[in-house]
Symmetry: C2
Subunit: 266 residues, 2 copies
């Protein structure tokens, strides 16, 4: 990933980004919930306004009620205000958000009553990752419905999958649990939360049979990513973000294999 | 899992189930979107009413706009009406639903322009599973917002993770893609769609440090699962469903390891 953009190309791509605002088809334009779903943005700057308990609990309730494979509810939500986050991790909640939920895939809990579930670590892990992610998205949308913004984090401040082992130690998580992401919540500060470049619908849908995406489409996406990242992630860049991932990912891979295949440990 | 319930115990547990209706706190009761999220149910019986194209496309748009790690959009949606489903799989869409989306974790596509992404199959796979599941939930809620019901399937009619290899062959999926689930969509037939037993909030949330759930709580959940499954899954039972999983899961585990660790194939 050594692609550099000239200033002209950068501006061209920023214009593309700003024009790409999605909107429901005219026939469905008055659907308020649909608009909330489409207008959802990952927000990384928050006011100091606290989130009331009933609002935060209503968000958690959306997680509790999410669908899951065979209703296994293979998730645990570690919940934090800034005090508890500071006590646990010795710094503030990332982006000075007001509350945080660490979403954990949990296939430890149901094992206590379904002892004779067959041994199938990768499948069971995957099911837990799917279910916990469904719950995460449900909480994210519930937050939006309540005027609360959020962002799901995988690495900022050692907050997700790339730091699974660290998080497990800090929270004393048992085998059969994997922390997947942190969602941080607050009231959005500022009004400009641009949408990152989304691939065109025809490139992410297939009619029955797989069709590879043309390289020109992917290159255009990459150019928009590079141009747009600076705008939405002040002080960072897409290149830098990828480099962080690349530097952490080998360690993360080793840790994750240890966590997932813990029964196969020598 | 050899737990049997007496008729009295069954009725007791059904009553518990029916009483467990969630509702937003009084202070938030007029939030319509929150109500849609809480009232969402997995629906397995549909009318013959077709879903209009603009409605189906609006559902897909919610998937396209879902958040994803580093905006990688590591998903592909295989879209079907009943004709295409029949052509591809030689039977009707499960539950005679009107449309279907097979949600595929896809870390093949972005590799075409991010060639020097490090080799980390389990991490990359997990990120794709998280992202694709976020998109799945977003589509599910968008459907609800449009009055369309759905259910996410992992095994009915060879529709998900447990039949990943079969689905890959049928759809000619390349390495770096894993089919995770099928969502089938339609207009709900009937009005009784009970909620499966959800674990109490205090058992799925932890304040910073992990706390094991008491066995009595898990046993009560299991009793409600057994009592409730017959009501919501006519012609099946929780026991039977678990047995299907158990019979398929060893094969699934082998297949899945082959798909995820494909570069390590001898």
């Amino acid at each position: 990933m050594k692609r550099k953009l000239s200033p002209t190309k950068s501006i061209e791509n920023l214009v593309k980004l700003l024009r790409a605002k999605p909107s429901p088809p005219a026939s469905l334009a008055d659907n308020e919930l649909l608009r909330i779903i489409y207008d959802r943005r990952s927000v990384r700057s928050f006011t100091r306004q606290p989130i009331a308990d009933d609002v935060f609990n209503a968000i958690l309730e959306a997680g509790r009620l999410a669908p899951s494979t065979v209703n296994l509810q293979s998730w645990t939500f570690a919940i934090f205000d800034d005090n508890l986050w500071q006590q646990t991790f010795e710094h503030s909640i990332p982006f000075h958000a007001n509350r945080a939920i660490i979403v954990i895939g949990d296939y430890h809990r149901y094992r206590t009553v379904l002892e004779d579930f067959p041994d199938c670590p990768l499948t069971e892990y995957t099911i837990a990752v799917i279910n916990a992610s469904l719950a995460a998205m449900n909480m994210n949308i519930a937050a939006e419905a309540l005027g609360v913004s959020s962002v799901m984090l995988s690495e900022t401040g050692r907050s997700g999958l790339l730091d699974a082992k660290y998080l497990r130690e800090k929270m004393a998580l048992p085998d059969g649990t994997v922390p997947l992401m942190t969602i941080v919540f607050g009231y959005a500060s500022g009004h400009f939360h641009p949408m990152p470049p989304k691939l065109p619908m025809e490139n992410i849908t297939i009619p029955g049979q797989y069709q590879p995406t043309e390289t020109t489409v992917m290159k255009s996406w990459l150019d928009q990513m590079i141009a747009g990242y600076n705008v939405s992630h002040l002080g960072s860049s897409f290149q830098k973000q990828l480099e962080i991932y690349q530097s952490k990912i080998n360690r993360a891979e080793t840790d994750l294999r240890e966590l997932v295949f813990y029964k196969e440990r020598p």
